[in-house]
């Protein structure tokens, strides 16, 4: 890149860099509407990619002793004066959303523990710190649970949100009455009804659904339901074969002795395409051994397991074996998967 192009990247002077101009045009569509929320001022010393000179190191060391004293004083001030202001910026899109019972005509801040409520005519946009945005549809009720570091968490008790997150996976969480939605990608819609049942539809990237160790991984163009007391169901692609939605609802949330289970499972297996291995993979860990045995056979026909994955290990619920088979599904990016497995 020439220095003229570098100048354009820096402050839009010099010769425009065609690639930068193209990216500005593409990404400008996602530009924040209205004023950006304030960003916390960071400590330059903690910036890993800044250039470090010896004089800077010396200055930093000298500053440490003074900082120790200042930290004690500033810490008290922080907790009493600054922390209560931490929260997410909220903008009204339509109608009159309310924060903790007070209507928001323009913009306001949702504090930790605060509730944002929209009625049938109201819509709002929430800035999730520096990591993303959430659009809140009418008839929605949500609470800000946490907003710090690697944990940005809200609780959605009912209604619909559209989340768009650009942080790394596992920074943004949405508690619902029946599962936690964990952002592993960019954009999704999450809906919770009056009974606490939920449905996530992923439009870009990945979302994880988790409840007491029961996990579902939902890629873009897929949906997944969740139910109170059960947790996440089995994901399926939106273009899944006819009958998939009710069949999976029965398998996931029906009674174990429901006499419709066999026909539901047969429908899912007989109509499965190679792409539906996503659905079948989740069923490998659900249902009776006899059901999982049928799932194994069908999935093995669609996507043969790696040599080191045995039928017995899979049917025994061996997580390593099942995970190895996942890797054979060729589901594009595996970055989120590795991050999911990492213990934070």
């Amino acid at each position: 890149m020439s220095s003229q192009h570098d100048d354009y990247l820096w402050n839009r002077t010099g010769t425009p860099d065609p690639e930068v101009v193209r990216l500005e045009r593409i990404l400008g569509e996602l530009k924040h509407q209205g004023a950006l929320p304030p960003l916390p001022v960071r400590r330059e010393a903690g910036h890993r990619h800044a250039l470090w000179g010896s004089r800077r190191i010396l200055r930093t060391v000298m500053a440490l002793s003074a900082a120790a004293v200042i930290t004690i004083v500033a810490g008290a001030a922080w907790f009493t004066l600054v922390q209560p202001r931490i929260g997410w910026a909220v903008e009204t899109i339509a109608g009159l959303p309310a924060i903790d019972g007070r209507t928001v005509a323009g913009s306001a801040r949702l504090g930790i523990g605060g509730w944002l409520v929209t009625d049938a005519a109201a819509r709002a946009r929430v800035s999730v710190g520096q990591i993303g945005r959430v659009e809140v549809e009418p008839n929605t009720r949500l609470q800000l649970v946490e907003a710090r570091g690697r944990e940005h968490r809200m609780a959605l008790s009912r209604g619909t949100i559209h989340a768009r997150i650009w942080a790394p996976p596992k920074f943004f969480f949405v508690n619902t009455p029946s599962a936690v939605a964990i952002d592993l990608g960019c954009a999704y819609t999450l809906q919770v009804d009056e009974t606490g049942a939920g449905l996530v539809r992923v439009t870009h990237g990945w979302v994880g659904f988790e409840h007491e160790g029961r996990e579902s991984f939902i890629p873009e163009q897929a949906v997944c339901a969740t139910r109170p007391g059960v947790g996440p169901g089995t994901p399926r692609y939106e273009d899944a074969p006819e009958g998939y939605a009710p069949a999976l609802a029965l398998l996931d949330f029906g009674a174990p002795d429901d006499n419709g289970r066999a026909s539901a499972l047969n429908l899912v297996l007989s109509r499965a395409r190679p792409r539906d291995a996503l659905t079948l993979w989740h069923l490998l860990r659900r249902g009776s051994r006899a059901e999982r045995s049928k799932v194994y056979d069908r999935m093995a026909a669609l996507v043969p397991p790696p040599a080191e994955v045995s039928r017995e290990a899979v049917l025994a619920g061996d997580r390593r074996a099942i995970d190895l088979w996942w890797n054979a599904l060729d589901l594009q990016s595996t970055t989120w998967w590795r991050l999911w497995k990492r213990q934070w």
Partner: protein
């Protein structure tokens, strides 16, 4: 009859509406999200700086003022981040 029973059960299974209201999905938006997805794979320092520059349209000095980073750091982050982004987009 079992099939009929099963399909009658469909309604009882009662999944949430399939047609969730979704934000606009235009091809340009999909492209923007795809590029954003690549940006988010960059190291943290580059990711934030590039997002403020390319998404929010801020200049380097504005980013420095907003983030508290020095102008030199922002310039380095923009330069290196853009280099990495080009490489990833051209793969």
């Amino acid at each position: 009859n079992r099939a009929a029973d099963f399909h009658r059960r469909d309604a009882a299974a009662g999944e949430l509406p399939e047609h969730l209201p979704a934000p606009e999905r235009t091809s340009s938006r999909a492209e923007a999200l795809a590029v954003l997805g690549v940006i988010r794979t960059l190291p943290e320092a580059y990711r934030e700086t590039l997002a403020l520059r390319l998404v929010e349209g801020m200049t380097g000095p504005e980013i420095a003022e907003r983030t508290g980073l020095t102008a030199a750091s922002v310039r380095v982050n923009l330069h290196r981040g853009m280099k990495l982004l080009r490489e990833k987009l051209n793969r």
